[in-house]
Symmetry: none
DNA sequence: CACCTGATTGCATAATCATGCGTCATGGAG
DNA sequence: CTCCATGACGCATGATTATGCAATCAGGTG
């Protein structure tokens, strides 16, 4: 790594995520304080970068601003269909360093992908990948990417 | 009222809400420009106050920061939320013979996982997920105090 | 081992956002 | 009509966040 510290980047970010999800942290300086009280040293600069990488959001509330984890806004009666879908095909979800791996019984991946595709989610996957990393047994059995981007993300 | 301007406060805020919901505005200055191009004059100060009153959030994505309407992610259908999450974090999605691999920028996986968890999707994978990997809900290495006051230690 | 490449971080500083204070209008009371 | 209270703003400035640069360190490579 670079500067030797007590905790690695991943650890620090994990901690930030945890704090932000539990407490009302309104500034990076506050976050820095919590990290410090946990033995993790970092400057505001680093935290700013972590926040960017984690994709956190700073939101306004009745009591000022606070950082939050995207997706906090719980939906009323959400995930019904998606839940059913994953419930049927997903064996487990593993969080990797650079992604998420949803495991399914052999062969079922196609079905899941198809389901997500029909749900209008598949187009998120585009050929815009930069580096190839995912290991962990992740090999494609000759299955080309689901589809092209028929949808425009942002930009 | 106050300073007589072309538009009332309500109208201005309505416009801001509308712009933010549709475009990728990353700074109050940009918002100001947008309003101006619509004939509504306002300073950054005013916009800052509007944003607070509207309870908007500034969120980080793979393409920079942007203001968003909280709850904009919660859509009529459960899929919309997941779509939003993936839209923000997923670089690519590859279908493997035994699962799906969602690639994200380094570190963002945790955020995605957290988001899915918050959405009530985590348990879809059942106890398998917990057994196989790190699960955020519980505690990591040794987090002492995530229990703090929800008060306002603001400024 | 010397050298090059990429990652990660601190520092200093630029870019943004938030807010105290004073002013301008509006509306109601006296 | 005059005076006072309230709300909305702009300005200037303090508070926060973002980022260019350079140093440091882990890994390959020749």
């Amino acid at each position: 790594m670079s500067r030797s510290n007590g905790a690695s980047k991943a650890k620090r970010q994990q901690a930030i995520l945890s704090f932000v999800a539990q407490e009302r942290l309104g500034s990076q300086e506050e976050i820095r304080g919590r990290l410090a009280s946990m033995g993790i040293a970092a400057t505001q600069s680093t935290i700013s970068r972590d926040i960017e990488e984690l994709g956190l959001a700073r939101m306004h509330g009745h009591d000022g601003t606070r950082y939050v984890v995207p997706g906090d806004g719980r939906a009323p009666q959400p995930v019904a269909m998606l839940r059913r879908l994953l419930d049927e095909f997903a064996l487990s979800m593993v969080r990797a360093d650079q992604g998420l791996i949803v495991r399914t019984p052999p062969g079922a991946a196609a079905a899941l992908a198809e389901g997500l595709d029909r749900a209008g989610l598949a187009d998120v996957a585009g050929p815009n990948a930069r580096r190839n990393t995912i290991h962990k047994r992740g090999r494609e059995g000759g299955n080309p990417p689901p589809r092209e981007q028929a949808h425009t993300p942002k930009k």
